[in-house]
Symmetry: C2
Subunit: 232 residues, 2 copies
DNA sequence: CCATTACGCTACGAGTCGTAGCGAAAGCGC
DNA sequence: GCGCTTTCGCTACGACTCGTAGCGTAATGG
């Protein structure tokens, strides 16, 4: 019993090289075949391991693909370009570039679809993919607040809600643009998007259940005035 | 040749009742089994038709589910509550309620995943689901502009880009909130989200390739004014 | 050297896929 | 009514994938 918490109790250890080969083979198979035509037998052959080895380590296709796709997001970094706008553009562009890869597209959406009926899978995705992305939001937000680019929110609950909203808006919009609209999230688009998002966040305080803001927001540079009073 | 463009040339017509039964059975199967465990044989049994009938009408599982899910979005309507904010909240809430249904969740994400490697399927999704949603964006936007709640954009190309952006932001954010974050898009959340979005849109003109908005926005105070003229 | 664990390989029943073939049913034009 | 055409229900089929069991071998620790 003393050997319970030992990383390796006894016997032959699992091959770390096999793990890497399997995950790489999974990504390659995702590129060539997509999710639906990907079979574990094929992945095993590509990786040079036996099919039974796969089943000893992963419960099924979904879990395997989650781990394979999670590796794609390891390169995500929060840049420090001096301003919130520049940092946000940088992160969004990185995210968009990852999502442009075919193995990310077919793999990620498929496991999310599977996760709608499998809570364990949902937690696995959250732990290995989503939470890591979300940390970038929290970091960038804290940095922007300390620079005075975003308002501080005294209420921690409200701050958490806002962080969640930012995360859903950033990740969701990029994903939708890339996968549903099927158009590239290039630099021009990212600039446009982050501009709208930041404008909304700078003054987006607590969601008062107030009436309708019929104030069109006055004029603001850019396109210049236009909506001023052209109403009917 | 005169009978070419006729809707029915001759012979026994296809049963419209069977179509409805099949689509309803598909939705029911999505609820009970989810995408991956849904089989066409099972759907045929539920619908009371032969499996071969299914294959005569749909090329495969993906096409069938697209049609089945598309029906869920038929009820989407653009309300007229007098203000852009209220209208937008209404639409987003409707969209969120549809996405809360299990058949929409597992079905929609799965076909989007499949569509990443199948252009014909992508077009089918666009025609039967996405475009219909997008029209609501265009209508609502036009109405808001005529009411003076949103700036007019003289350049049609720029206007189209903005409309696409709005659509990706709305649909993407709600989808991400519902499916990835797996938290309810309830009224409070919708209000928070639409508030940030609208604030960004009111002053979100053309994406000038300008430098960084190092304007910290000063204190955010309420909602109202904030970005007014605090530029340096 | 021995216990323990991982690995490769083969084989297997179970289930699904998509199609072919057949006879019967249901419309349309005459 | 009668034939032509298309659809429908049903059965059967080969091909494929799944996930597991069994066995002998390889690698590591005590």
């Amino acid at each position: 019993m003393q050997s319970r918490t030992r990383s390796v109790r006894a016997g032959r250890p699992r091959s770390a090289a096999a793990d890497a080969a399997i995950l790489a083979a999974t990504r390659a198979a995702l590129v060539e075949l997509g999710w639906s035509k990907l079979t574990l037998g094929d992945v095993a052959t590509r990786a040079g391991v036996a099919k039974t080895t796969l089943y000893r380590r992963w419960a099924g296709k979904s879990e395997l693909v989650v781990d394979a796709v999670a590796g794609l997001f390891d390169e995500l970094r929060l840049p420090d370009r001096g301003s919130l706008a520049a940092d946000l553009e940088g992160v969004v562009l990185q995210f968009a570039r990852i999502l442009a890869r075919p193995e990310a597209q077919s793999g990620l959406m498929a496991v999310i679809a599977e996760a709608t009926r499998d809570e364990a899978l949902r937690n696995r995705i959250r732990a290995s993919i989503v939470d890591r992305q979300k940390r970038l939001v929290l970091e960038g937000r804290a940095r922007a607040q300390s620079r005075g680019e975003l308002p501080w929110e005294p209420d921690p609950e409200e701050a958490a809600r806002t962080a969640d909203l930012i995360f859903d808006m950033v990740a969701g919009t990029v994903v939708h643009r890339t996968l549903v609209s099927a158009e590239p999230a290039d630099e021009a688009w990212v600039r446009h998007f982050t501009r709208v998002l930041l404008t909304g966040l700078r003054s987006g305080g607590p969601p008062e259940p107030s009436p309708l803001p019929r104030n069109p927001g006055g004029r603001e540079g850019g396109t210049a005035r236009a909506e001023g009073d052209s109403g009917d």
